[in-house]
Symmetry: C2
Subunit: 226 residues, 2 copies
């Protein structure tokens, strides 16, 4: 199952892989998705254009892998002590990632292409999106252990809820940064986590929620669930 076909012959140069992905990333920074060309990437990587096409079907797949590598470098989870602090942390981290010029220009583009190419969409999700989602799931798990969130019995409902929360967090950050084109700073993260934790009505009240940003666990659960 692993490599039944490649046990003989000249092996693929892993160094070329690194060079190509690095060149793709550099080209994204300098040129952006729109003006990035396969020939340019090959030249930067010191590699023949044909070698690119032997490994990737085209620009889309290549860029997905390059962006996924960036995500791998930067994404990690951290226990910040409370659900609120965890949310603000993941929001800011994700925003930092999206502020990088290479991801900024590439992520939306590959998602756009994926709307017309289901295989590409699956690749984007498995290589990029699912890795972010894991961070959200881990934070959720921690909050449940702390007692800040109730444990859910029905596994189906729990999964739907996790998906919902993930779409809300990731979608909000992406929309703020790339559509509204405004910064995701600590202040915005505070407002967002307040909204997410306490809902619309509570979020409209300026006082009382901005001070206890990193406060002790178990303090901010108005419904007192579980």
């Amino acid at each position: 199952m692993s490599p039944p076909s490649r046990r003989t012959g000249r092996p693929r140069s892993v160094e070329a892989d690194r060079a190509i992905l690095g060149a793709t990333r550099a080209a994204l920074v300098e040129l952006g998705w729109g003006k990035l060309t396969m020939g340019d990437v090959a030249a930067r990587a010191g590699v023949a254009k044909t070698t690119l096409y032997r490994r990737w079907a085209g620009k889309n797949e290549l860029v997905v892998d390059a962006v996924a590598a960036v995500f791998d470098e930067h994404l990690m989870s951290a226990d910040c002590g409370s659900l609120r602090a965890d949310i603000e942390n993941v929001v800011v981290r994700f925003a930092e990632l999206l502020e990088l010029p290479e991801t900024k220009t590439a992520l939306m583009a590959v998602v756009a292409e994926a709307t017309q190419d289901e295989a590409l969409g699956a690749r984007v999700r498995s290589a990029i999106v699912d890795r972010q989602k894991r961070l959200v799931l881990i934070g959720r798990e921690r909050a449940q252990l702390r007692g800040e969130l109730p444990r859910e019995e029905d596994p189906g409902a729990a999964a739907r809820n996790a998906d919902l929360i993930f779409d809300v967090i990731a979608g909000s950050v992406v929309h703020r940064l790339l559509v509204s084109a405004e910064p995701v700073d600590a202040e915005w993260a505070q407002g967002f986590s307040t909204l997410l934790l306490q809902g619309l009505a509570a979020a409209a009240q300026p006082g009382g929620t901005t001070e206890n940003g990193g406060g002790g666990p178990g303090g901010q659960n108005p419904a007192g669930s579980v």
Copy 2:
């Protein structure tokens, strides 16, 4: 200020405008953003390619206007009687719009291009995004009139809050549909509005929130604000 330069000479054919935008839309449906070409659009519209370039700087601007026209057709506000019902309505409406093949493939693409072209970004926001945002603002206004949401004194804080809510709503729907590639149906809209109204802890409890979907105003404000 309005038309100081075009008072004389042959006027631009408004019919050509309609034909071009319609052809653009049709080409988006059939080919998608990636394979759409200016020459193809011109041929579909029965118009010379040069005419396209006389009116639009390129593919990006053309598609933005075409998508904006689709949004103009479909976006309208409706008072559904309660904040929850208004939220679910705007979510589903927006989702219907994003499910159209022409918007689905084009919206993310132009946003991606806009990350490297500030003028294009401004055009996207004024032609498309701000129109959606108005729907959210109107719904918020209605909720305040009903007493479901508190009136805010500080205009700056109110604006920040409105921006936040809009990014959360629009971003969540976009992410669900185009990144996670899963449907936005009535069930998802219910879960989302519950989360938005009552916050994380309350949304994790399956019972008690799904029944009062169209309930009377003033019922779901646990904090009892203002």
